[in-house]
Structure formats: C-alpha cells, structure tokens
Symmetry: C2
Subunit: 328 residues, 2 copies
C-alpha cells in the first residue's frame, strides 16, 4: 500500500502552523511558545511523522553518520571495539558505517573515499599501517586513529611498551632465564613497541633465548616453528594472542608441556584467551575505553573543539592465567 511518508509540511499543515514553526518544534531550535511546540509535537506523533535525515543532511551539510574503518573484521580484536563504538555513537545520535578493508591499502583508500562521498561527519580509523597518505583524500574531515600512529591525526592507543615490559618482567620474576620473543609484524609500530620493550627488559637480564617474527595468525612460519622445536627457551612472549594460540597448539603437537616446559604470555586478551587450554596469560587492553574515547574525541572535533592532535595512551595490565603461572 506504500502509505506515503509523512513530511514536515504535512505536519505543519495539519497543525495549522508554518513549516518553520514545525521545524523549530521538532528540533527544539528557535523560540516557540510551549503551547505551539507541544501542539506540533502531538500532531507529529499522531501522524507518525519521522524526520527525513537525508533531506536534513542536504541542507545542513551534516549527516549524523560516521564511518568505522578496520582492516579485518575477523580479527578477534574487532567485535568488542565495534560494539563499543557503535553504542557510543548511537547514544549521541550517530549511526556508524562499518567497513572492512581486507588488509589492503588500496581498498582502504577506496573505502575512505566512499565514506567521504557519503558525507560522513567523521571517521574512526584502525589503519592497516602507520604510514599513510590519505590526508589528501580525506581533506579536512575529522578522523581519529585507533591503535596505529598516523601523523597528523589524533591517535588513541594502549601503552604497548608498558605491556611488553610487564610481560617480560613477569616472566623474569617467575624465574625464567631463557625467554623467547615471537613478535607479530614488526612494520607496525605498536608491535615494535610491545616487543621492543620486552626484548630490552629480557636483555637487561641477559635471558633472551631468541627473537622471531610471525604474521598476525595462528599459522606459524617455519622460523617460529623451529625456534619452538629448539627448546631454547622455557618461556615465550608473543606479540599477539593469535600467535600465542598458534604456539600452544604447535607445542602440544611436539609434546612440549605448557606451562611446565614452556610458559606462554600473549598480548591483547582476545575473548577466547580465557578458554584456551591452558587459559592464556596475557596483556589486557582497555578496548571499551579506547573505543569510547575515540568516539568522544571525534564528536568533540565535530563540535569544533580545535584541540591539537593528541596521542592518548591507555594503561594496560597483565592477566594471570594458566599458560604462565606466577611461580615457576
């Protein structure tokens, strides 16, 4: 039957006021007598009036929508991040376009361009890399970066170095004197920070057994597999929980007992870290807070607060579980 959608004009006519007054009433702008406002609101309600946000956007230049750009939704880091961002945005009347770039920088550019076309008011962005050249395509659109460090933008991060240090010191304190490090991709800064700090602490105690690199994956590279097989370490710090899971799996296959023969500490505290066997000792990031701060910072920018591009760093903490018990 496609009952034609009620427009503001219908409301105005039906309420016997001008279009402007109707608009004022709906938006609580302008100055209107309480009576008129109430009356218009009542009529609107009765008619089942709903704003046409697209039309408003055309007029005001603001869509009330923001974009959220991530490299990969199946990254277990993502869902809680997305949830917090979407909720926080909604509380403030914003809707969120979520996009996945499949870890491809070309797609990333394309996606951001599309978001710009769509007229989003701003973007929360989890970039693939720290190096980027999107200032050009984003123009002066407010953008907040999460996790990575991109020049020229406000960056919301966790204290990765602190995390690496925490993990290393914990292992050291547990009596380990041959500790390996299995990093994630070292071309991302947050990974360099977490592993750099860990390695430094371990070196200071001259307990570094080896240091190898792996993708953000449970799939292990040959290097990493050999390192584990070498049994050169009694404990490893992994740059991400995904890697830690892969390591535990491989160790089991080799008959290396965790944590007795090999203690494992991860990074991120992804949701299933606690359901691994043994449950994964890891570094927890305050994901919710980071997400909320990202949205808040973005909204502040939208409101014209011209604060300089800060770098906000959240503290992290170590969650003790079974894969690396406190005392060896």
């Amino acid at each position: 039957m496609a009952r034609k959608r009620i427009t503001l004009k219908d409301v105005a006519k039906s309420a016997g006021v001008s279009l402007a007054s109707a608009s004022y009433a709906i938006n609580k702008t302008g100055s209107l007598s309480e009576d008129t406002r109430a009356h218009v609101l009542k009529v609107a309600e009765e008619l089942g009036y709903r704003q046409n946000l697209a039309a408003r956007a055309a007029r005001t230049g603001r869509t009330g929508a923001i974009g959220f750009v991530v490299p990969d939704m199946t990254n277990p880091f993502f869902p809680s991040l997305a949830q917090s961002i979407v909720q926080r945005a909604r509380q403030n009347g914003y809707s969120v376009f979520v996009t996945d770039t499949e870890g491809d920088q070309a797609q990333e550019e394309e996606v951001i361009r599309q978001l710009v076309d769509r007229g989003v008011d701003g973007i929360v962005w989890f970039p693939i890399k720290d190096e980027n050249s999107i200032e050009s395509i984003a123009g002066d659109l407010p953008i907040i970066v999460i996790d990575r460090t991109v020049n020229g933008f406000e960056c919301i991060q966790a204290d990765y170095a602190q995390g690496g240090q925490l993990a290393a010191n914990y292992l050291l304190a547990s009596g380990h004197d041959r500790i390996g490090v299995i990093a994630g991709p070292m071309d991302v800064r947050s990974m360099r920070e977490r592993c750099g700090a860990a390695i430094e602490a371990i070196n200071r105690a001259s307990a570094l057994a080896y240091s190898v690199e792996n993708a953000f994956s449970t799939e292990l590279s040959g290097d990493v597999a050999s390192a584990i097989e070498s049994r050169a370490a009694t404990a490893v710090f992994c740059g991400s929980d995904l890697i830690a899971v892969g390591v535990m799996g491989h160790a089991r296959k080799l008959g290396i007992a965790i944590p007795d023969e090999l203690a494992v500490v991860g990074f991120d505290d992804i949701p299933w870290a606690e359901y691994c066997t043994p449950a994964l000792t890891t570094i927890e990031l305050p994901v919710d807070e980071m997400a909320s701060e990202a949205v808040d910072a973005l909204l502040r920018k939208l409101d014209g607060e011209n604060e300089s591009n800060r770098r906000v760093v959240f503290g992290v903490c170590l969650i003790e579980r079974e894969s690396a018990p406190p005392r060896k």
Copy 2:
C-alpha cells in the same frame, strides 16, 4: 584550509555546460554526445569532483545505504557474517550501517526506527526472537531476515534440523548409547529445530541420557553442570559452540576426559572451534553464502523484483575434529 567542496554546479560551469548535462554525464543517464560526456568527465576529474550522496538521496529518495541489525556483535557468529555482508554490499555500491541491539527488543525497535529515519534502502536483520511486531515501524521497507523465522519476511537460514540429525547420527554411529543434549534457549526456533531433530534421532535409538537448556554462553547453569557431573552420558550434543566450550571447560575441571569419557559435538563452527583443546567437532554453517544471499535478496527487492517471501535454507555439514572422534 577547508577547500570548499566542488559541486556539480562548479563542474558544469567550468565545463561550460548546463547543470543538467553535467548530471547526465556523471550518471550516464539522459542522452549526451560522447564528446560532451567525455569533456565533463575530464573536467570533473580535474576539479576533483565527488558526488554528494546526501543531496542525491534527498532528491531521489534512495540513499544507497542499508542497515545490518544484530543482537550482539560479540557473538562469535557475527564477524564473518558482517564481513561478508559489508563486502557484498560494497561491491554493489552500498554502504552498511551496522547496529547492535544488545539483545534487547526495545532497542531493536528503536534501532530499526532510526535506520528508517536515516532513509536506508533496506535492512538485513538478525532478530533476537522469532516473534516480532515491526511490520508497523518498518512500513514497506525491504527487509531480509537471517537465521530466525519472522512472518512476513524473506528468511535466510541453515538447515538446523539436518545439523542436529547429523550430529546425533554421528554420535550414534560412533557407538555411543547414552547421549545428552544441552540446548541453547529453546524459545528461538532455530534452536528448537537443531535440538529437536537431535533428540528425535537419539530417542529413536533410545539413547537419550538427558536434555537440558543453557543460555548462549560459556557460563553453565546449575542444571547443566549437574547433568555433566552425573556422568549419565558418554557424549553430548550442544546447541551452540559457545556452550560446548563451556562444557569442555567444566568437564576438565571435574577431571572428565574429553573425548574418552565424554565426547562433545557443538554447533556453528565458530572461528575458534578448531583451536579449542581438544579441537571441537561441530556443525558448520555456510555463513558466507548465507550473508551473500541475504544481500543479494535484498538488492533484488530494491530493484523491485516482487518475489514472494521465500525461505531459503542452506545445507550444513559436520566437521570432524578431536572432541568427538569417529570411532569410539
């Protein structure tokens, strides 16, 4: 510096044609000489023109955006679903508003209403329950339902009954003669189907040890915990992988060996099913295909194909892993 955004008018002026011709050129509509079209396109390119989708939406009534509504993003089922939907939509020039309703039907209504206000062209919806009363608020907006069964809408589902049956028969064939069922919330139809089919098959062999219910969670209710402690079954079928993970954890705590003393089969094949210890034998759903079909069906509706509201059911299969090996 806020370089003012280039409008179509700018392009038209700069190209020395009318606004209409510029529009025709950009949209490949109307009839325009190849020369003119090419020229306009070139000028647009040079000027860095980008369409203002919001303005176009105001005029055409179509925003090129769709909504994706889910009860809970942290449901491990979600990310791959979302990924496929977002990608598929993007391939077709659509952007996706993703929203989480926190498992609350009031919020669900609210969210859909908001999406309608935003003028989305359609919605892909993973409802909280099968019973709903949103026809009223959605009007005649095209909506495709995923997983649940809501009257009046096209529903994309997996063959849950087949899955339950597959699991039960597998366990039976493996020689189990006391099989328990730990269902998820039975007020959702897809759960009734999977567990109903399983129970029926098990009963046919008169091997049902018990049948209890749990939330969609790794957290186990008292009932369920007791059932496991009773050791009345040598195998269980769980209505969801999340529950299966909880069961395996609890069994371990009780010193019940999996799979030797208790074989476990889950449902959904969530990403970490294969990283559990032991790796979880489970029923796999073709999530990507379901997502793609949902988007395709939605786009078809947008293009006015008035096919009746079908119920599309995808086949499922059993993935053999370690928690329930083939031979007992």
